[in-house]
């Protein structure tokens, strides 16, 4: 039989990420830092202040559910995917009329990487959380 790239359960995204594209096509920490600094206006965010919900291992790298939330008064939360070709995913803005400082979305992850949430908090400071999401071949558990 002719097996496609998904043979043995391989997620196409994982293989492409690891081998097919030139390394420079993926975000590195410098690009991530650049995006964070643009968001914070050059202020180094502190750990915490924002919660980030993500699966430990993605069930489907093409659509990974992500949840972010933070305390009252938070003005904005930016989500970055540190290992994607372009790390920027989304920025959610909140106002006093926002019932809850929370948002959910689904993102595509090219390979195993950190997802990062940075929040502009009510007191003007910045909080940050990272979580690793693994994009795996799978198929051998049990």
């Amino acid at each position: 039989m002719q097996l496609n790239r998904r043979s043995f359960g391989l997620l196409a995204a994982a293989a492409a990420g690891a081998t097919a594209l030139p390394r420079a096509a993926f975000a590195d920490e410098a690009l991530v830092k650049e995006a964070i600094m643009a968001f914070t206006g050059g202020v180094e965010p502190t750990e915490g202040g924002v919660t980030l919900g993500a699966p430990e291992i993605a069930e489907n790298g093409n659509t990974v559910p992500i949840e972010v939330s933070a305390g009252d008064g938070t003005e904005a939360i930016m989500i970055l995917a540190a290992g994607n070709p372009n790390p920027g995913v989304a920025t959610f803005h909140f106002t006093k009329l926002s019932g809850e400082i929370a948002a959910t979305t689904r993102i595509r992850l090219a390979k195993t990487q950190d997802v990062i949430a940075v929040a502009r908090l009510g007191d003007g400071s910045f909080g940050m959380t990272r979580r690793e999401v693994k994009v795996t071949i799978g198929g051998c558990g049990g």
Partner: protein, 560 residues
């Protein structure tokens, strides 16, 4: 808190874990008796009886425990990552004793001939009935992986096991391989089940809403008990997601904390997690989610003679394949566990009387298939077993069959933990082959793979097993490889563990750019083509007649 007296109620010694060593009752007696196995002085007001990972084994089996079961990171050297003589020493068990036979691989063949097969649902029924006679309000909880693992379960789409379990009468169950029957069949069974099918972590993927009941409340012995279910978290990754589209799983630690809070708010005085997470995942979960009193662990098939305590949570590991039944007695006062007694009962099939009612049901379930099951295909001169982190001899046989019957350079066989053993000299029946292969996605594929892709597969699977963060572990063993050798350093991160990949036929290193013909089975991809693996193995065994395997030294393990 927990009194020393209560530790001493336990069936076997607990020297290393709790410093309360003593001579096991069984080893003291010249011959085992049913009463010696099952007599237990009751403790407290609540009894939990746990079975898990039966894998459709209705009848007694040989089941060799692993000789290698490495822990990494914080789990290194801790139970259940202790095997052989180290295990005996840790738990104060005598070499050659019935417990040594049941719990380790030490001297397995000789002890198997002495002590006989283990398990059988008719024996399990006797144990459960006896515990219920002692403690009429005992809760019986099934950790899942119940409806898959035999030819009769496959042919009846799990119905033989459903019927057997309905007779046994659990109060709740959770799940894993159940879903490989397909979502429609699962829901058809669940609708008729006389007990709840629990999974706090099973969600509708589209709406992100709970898809099954998360918990059930009971009142037993005057105590309000919440049993929360947790299905295998990596269902759509480790097994074919297309068989249950629309469901999402995951560990969902925050969700678990919410459910624990919810049941406490409803007045639960005892919170029990019926889990299919795997032991290391449960150990981490127990350290991070407050308020769980007991975790009944499953999935990783570990059997431990004593509960492991993490903070205030007791972790119970009850083995697999019907080989053990656990009984945990708890003294619950004012919403707190004040003491406990525990016994891991090894189900010695020659000692425990079969329950006639269950025996009759098993006979009836098997009758239509009996002739087919019993057909002798060949004989084995070697001990055939599967459990262990790397290669097991049953998988060596499967890989050999794949290479020869499918004309491949290299064979891959998944690192499943189910599948009983066969002793040297045993006939190999069709049933035996099915016990090691029976599943709903059995097609034996034949494919071209580059050396680099093979390396990626090995790295990926190794990270499912040896990632130092248990939440990234999927609970299987390493993929078994035929025709190719490799070295693995279990302490390294992903991408750096696997080296020295060698094509055994020529002794040449695997070339990342070269293409190899690879045969395997149990692909999670929809539409995988090829004959069912049991036909491949049967055809090979029939051809060779007698299976004799050379020792497998193709995997060099480092950092253990």
């Amino acid at each position: 808190m927990i009194a020393r007296r209560d530790f001493l109620q336990a069936g076997v010694a607990a020297s290393a874990l709790f410093g309360a060593g003593r001579i096991p009752a069984l080893a003291q007696s010249q011959s085992m008796t049913e009463n010696a196995l099952l007599d237990m002085a009751p403790v407290g007001n609540v009894t939990l009886v746990h079975v898990t990972d039966i894998h459709a084994q209705l009848r007694p089996v040989w089941f060799r425990e692993p000789s290698i079961n490495l822990g990494v990171g914080e789990a290194k050297g801790k139970p259940p990552h202790v095997t052989g003589a180290d295990f005996l020493k840790m738990f104060g068990l005598k070499p050659g004793s019935p417990e040594a036979y049941a719990l380790t691989s030490e001297d397995f063949v000789a002890l198997a001939r002495e002590y006989g097969r283990m398990g059988g649902m008719d024996r399990v029924a006797t144990v459960v009935k006896r515990f219920r006679a002692d403690r009429p309000e005992a809760l019986l909880l099934d950790g899942g992986d119940t409806w898959q693992g035999s030819m009769t379960a496959l042919r009846t789409q799990g119905q033989d096991m459903v019927n057997a379990m309905n007779l046994l009468g659990p109060d709740a169950m959770t799940s894993h391989w159940e879903f490989t029957l397909g979502i429609d069949r699962v829901n058809e069974i669940v609708e008729e089940l006389p007990f709840p099918f629990l999974g706090a972590n099973i969600f509708d993927a589209e709406w992100d809403e709970p898809a099954y009941e998360a918990y059930e409340m009971y009142e037993r012995g005057g105590v309000k008990i919440a049993v929360i279910g947790q299905a295998f978290p990596y269902m759509p990754i480790a097994n074919p997601g297309w068989m249950f589209p629309g469901l999402s799983f995951g560990i969902r630690e925050e969700r678990m904390a919410e459910v624990v809070q919810e049941v406490r708010d409803e007045g639960a005085e005892l919170v029990v997690l019926l889990s299919h997470n795997g032991f290391d995942v449960d150990r981490k979960l127990a350290s991070r989610v407050e308020g769980i009193d007991v975790i009944l662990c499953g999935h990783t098939h570990d059997a431990l003679p004593e509960p492991v305590k993490v903070g205030n949570t007791l972790l119970v590991a009850s083995g697999s394949n019907g080989k053990f039944v656990s009984r945990l007695d708890l003294d619950v006062q004012g919403g707190e566990v004040k003491g406990f007694g525990y016994r891991l009962v090894p189900v010695f099939s020659d000692v425990i009387t079969p329950d006639p009612e269950m025996a009759a049901l098993i006979g009836a379930e098997r009758a239509p298939y009996e002739a087919e099951l019993a057909e002798v295909i060949g004989t084995t001169d070697s001990l055939l077993y599967r459990r262990g982190n790397f290669n097991g001899t049953f998988d060596d046989l499967i890989c050999q069959a794949l290479i020869e019957e499918r004309e491949a350079d290299i064979a891959l066989s998944p690192g499943f933990r189910w599948g009983p053993s066969l002793l040297p000299g045993d006939p190999i029946t069709r049933e035996d082959i099915h016990n090691a292969t029976s599943m709903t996605y059995p097609n034996a594929y034949r494919s071209e793979m580059t050396g680099q892709f093979l390396h990626e597969i090995l790295e990926d699977v190794a990270d499912n097993l040896f990632n130092t963060d248990p939440y990234y572990q999927q609970g299987g063993d390493m993929v078994r490889v035929g025709g190719m050798g490799y070295a693995i350093d279990v302490t390294k991160p992903i991408g750096e563990r696997i080296s020295e990949m060698t094509l055994l036929r020529t002794g040449e290193p695997i070339d990342p750019a070269k293409t190899y013909t690879v045969a395997g089975w149990a692909s999670v991809n929809e539409g995988t083509e090829g004959p069912p693996i049991w036909d491949v193995v049967e055809s090979y065994v029939k051809r060779v007649g007698t299976v004799a395997l050379d020792p497998n030294n193709a995997v060099a393990v480092r950092g253990a």
